[in-house]
Subunit: 265 residues, 2 copies
Amino acid sequence: MNTRPIGVFDSGLGGLTILKTLSKALPKEKLIYFGDTVNVPYGSKSKAAVTRFSLDIARFMQRQGVKLIVVACNTASALALAELQKKISVPVIGVILPGAMKAAQCTRNGKVAIIATEATVQSKAYPRALKRLDKRIRTYQRACPVFVPLIEEGWIHHSAGEQIISDYLDGVVKSGADTVILGCTHYPVIKKKIAARLGKNVKLVDSAEVLAQEVKTRLSQTDQLNPSGRGSMKIYASDAPARFKRLAKNILGRELNRVYLKKLN
Amino acid sequence: MNTRPIGVFDSGLGGLTILKTLSKALPKEKLIYFGDTVNVPYGSKSKAAVTRFSLDIARFMQRQGVKLIVVACNTASALALAELQKKISVPVIGVILPGAMKAAQCTRNGKVAIIATEATVQSKAYPRALKRLDKRIRTYQRACPVFVPLIEEGWIHHSAGEQIISDYLDGVVKSGADTVILGCTHYPVIKKKIAARLGKNVKLVDSAEVLAQEVKTRLSQTDQLNPSGRGSMKIYASDAPARFKRLAKNILGRELNRVYLKKLN
């Protein structure tokens, strides 16, 4: 048994979709979430910058005594995971591999499409992970850089938002992929609209469920679950916590109690 | 005469619209531009964060020996100008006052609308500046947080982009303002589309021209122009210079020669 918390971080709000799934799968655990709102977005920034941001957060989480860290951000997982695993002494789990594993299981025709931020697409982290799992898989990638601001500002429920979704997914449809990875933690928020555009024969994969199972397995194998815990959630943001709290509603569908301001440099 | 350069900075690309106007008005001057792409965007961040970013840049520019600094970013001008003027020894000019002055001159019915980022709107910098210039002026503000990503990604030429512009401007039309301040340095890029929505009786104000005149006046009054200079432009970005160079084309309409990477912390 290990009563220490699990750390979860993202560049901003998107990782809350992962936090939500984790807290359902592991309701007894203490969860700490860090949204890096002073550096958001990561998806348009360099590997060096994203690695520096991620290391600062992981070190803060270590100081909070976490037993495991979840990188609930595709961009940080794609660009910084190896460096985090090298420099941080607790286990660090990213979202790329769980998502790729699920997609590899799902696909029937061997064609997998990935929609993600610009940085995640350029890193080729998903195509590489998929090839390692099954070298016959063919991949198609599409960066959708406008999705995140549209989701955060709630424009996605607007017909213009729907049109942008539709246009971004044009190439995905043409690729013939039967499985599409939602390669950004914001995208599950618009899952229904994406599904409507792609049709019912296309399977959408988001990492949250597989990731939560992976966390559970890792902790239980090493007897580090907290079965008698009461479950809690503490949220930090590196800037503008009031704004974070307000926009979190667009992601979580409910109000957060409190968001703590924590500057890391 | 003073042959030292003029410094211009912005959170990212938007300030290039100001740089362009400045280089036309002062073709003999050396211009240094700093785009803070590691911290972009400023418009959704706190006053404390934006002030810290701005001071770091202004200090870098002082080390480059600039004779004057232009804050080519509405958010930084709204949140950090007073602090910069207190802590930096060369003159620092922002975009808010020039824009407000021009709007106060333009309005016939005393109603001025401001479209800007969330942070600029919340700071109330434009309404306050306008009231100081003419206390009879009534103001209406509208934050348009999705404009910047739409412009940077080129979605603005798309019908969905036009629809978003149109919807954001609904309240501006209803406000009855005859003068609208483009309170973000990105917005001049979509000036024509905004004008089409507001109609020809509404005057659009962007700070660039007035600001350039203000810089010229300030330098000539203190005999600090560089009349025999050859004119040059050096561009720095704090992250991902290749991406900056690529997207700058959407703002400037032409290719930049080179963008230098400069990390400030």
